[in-house]
Amino acid sequence: MCGHWQGGWGCARSDPQAGREQALSAIVEFDSVGLRYGTGAEVLRDLDFRLNRGAFYFLTGPSGAGKTSLLKLLYLAQRPTRGRIRLFGEEMSDAPRDVLPHFRRRIGVVFQDFRLIRHLSAFDNVALPLRIAGKSEIGVEGPVREMLAWVGLADRASARPATLSGGEQQRVAIARAVISQPELLVADEPTGNVDKDMAERLMNLFSALNRLGTTVVVATHDVGLIASTPGAQMVRLEHGSMVDTMGTLKNPPPSPHSQPRGHS
């Protein structure tokens, strides 16, 4: 698997012991977290859970349950109004603004509304995380081409988002989220605009990433998607609170996918 991703993904973590330790440690820890926007009611309350490194999670719940808000906390777009959040072992709740970019670069995000930069080509959109991380143009070209080919958009590299279909835009957004092989991938309804085949391919991509060590959190309504991803754990939100009927949230069992990177 490593070989397939050599272009931009690499196999950085080759120490098996370190990999196993990482697989067992928490990548995300929420401690009595609450979130409210302005002076409104809390949209998230008393969230108290941990996500293990290298695991695959589905975040489900009805519309308005707070899934997107929870994801915003995960990808550091929001700070909690109360409680503590630890990400990658570091306290994030009141981390200085200047350190956040460093952590955001370790997170890949697929936004529900894609958030592609409309005046940039598909290539430039996908290349953006690498360029922001300071990669040279020589180091950008190969991985981006490879990534675009993988999501089936090799021939649309120079197309702007407005000329792409919804599904194509979705795939560009996903390519952008995973191009820098993030440690944590957060996806908000990533298969909402693609056909069944493409949804399956994208989930295979997420699974491949997960096997390489990336922790994946996918918010979705698609029960079929959850069923087709064996070993994934489900986190359910209702009215801003965790519904933990299976008892899997506070101490989830190790995922069959949670192999250390480089040992897929």
């Binding site: 990808y75 777009a77 603004r97 200047d98 970019p101 460093h102 955001r104 670069r105 995000v109 936004f111 958030r115 592609l116 930069i117 409309r118 005046h119 940039l120 430039d124 290349a127 953006l128 995380p129 360029r131 922001i132 991380a133 143009e137 952008r176």
Partner: protein, 290 residues
């Protein structure tokens, strides 16, 4: 230090809209033009004042009452006084010609009594009281008047105008800063979606700021060059007309080499100011967000 000025093509693509669009280049051009012309006027005034002061410094007039025959004695006393470099009587005909300008034909009427005048040029460290006492002893009733004293109101007016010019330059710099702040905020609003995405995938405030800073710096530079060229043309035009007259009055060009250097630095200073203000405004706006 200036790495932000050299963006890659990919970085340039992040902020579309083409170069030199929007209000910034025009505002900077107008401000540069106004600042340079006002500054040139201020500098010319300053030089004129300097020349006037240089011309009247240490120069005095001794007024001997009309009808007195003390002029030769007063002249002799003045010439023998320590510190007096030159002492020259003003010919009566010259004085009457001057009076004619004010009084018409009555000025040259022999019936009109005219005092005798001696102009003195004294050394900088001369004892003025001793000179005045010596002349008064030779010519009782003689008045000792400093040229500077006579021209002081004019010099004061020139100084006020100089300060006014300097204040106008400062005000225009402040107005330019305010315009740049507005332009920077407008640009941030226009590109809000891009900034949100960039932040979301790990761009630092400094990375985002560099994009805007570079754009505003280039816009400002273009505006400053245009404004400076226009101001230079106007000043050259004036040099062929109005200031030639001023030059005649002063005996030389109203602006010196050093003044041209200062005027040349002004547009560059404005670009530096606009760039620094843009950086501060963008950074501050970004830090207020999220």
């Amino acid at each position: 230090m200036f790495g932000w000025l050299f963006a890659s093509p990919a970085e340039r693509r992040l902020l579309p809209g083409g170069r030199f669009r929007g209000p910034t280049p025009f505002v900077i051009a107008i401000m540069t033009f106004a600042m340079m012309t006002v500054a040139a006027a201020g500098l010319a005034l300053s030089n004129a004042a300097g020349l006037v002061v240089q011309g009247i410094e240490n120069r005095y007039a001794v007024q001997i009452p009309a009808g007195s025959n003390d002029l030769p004695r007063a002249l002799s006393a003045a010439l023998s006084a320590p510190g007096v470099i030159t002492a020259e009587p003003v010919p009566e005909a010259d004085m009457r010609r001057t009076l004619e300008n004010w009084l018409g034909p009555a000025g040259v009427d022999e019936q009109l009594p005219v005092p005798s005048l001696i102009t003195l040029n004294v050394a900088a460290n001369a004892d003025l009281a001793a000179i005045a006492a010596r002349i008064e002893a030779a010519a009782p009733g003689a008045r000792f008047v400093a040229h500077r004293e006579v021209l002081e109101p004019l010099l004061r007016a020139i100084r006020v105008l100089q300060w006014l010019a300097l204040s106008l330059v400062a005000l225009m710099a402040a107005a330019t800063s305010a315009a740049v702040v507005l332009a920077a905020r407008g640009a941030l609003d226009t590109h809000r979606a891009t900034i949100e995405v960039m932040h979301g995938i790990g761009a630092t405030d400094v990375q985002v700021t560099n994009l805007f800073q570079r754009k505003i710096a280039l816009d400002s530079l273009a505006g400053a060059v245009a404004g400076a060229v226009a101001a230079a043309l106007v000043l050259l035009l004036l040099a062929g007309g109005g200031t030639a007259f001023a030059g005649d009055l002063m005996g030389r060009s109203p602006l010196h080499g050093y003044d041209f250097v200062m005027l040349g630095v002004l547009p560059l200073a404005l670009v530096v100011l606009a760039t620094a203000v843009a950086r501060a405004a963008v950074l501050s706006t970004l830090r207020q967000a999220t």
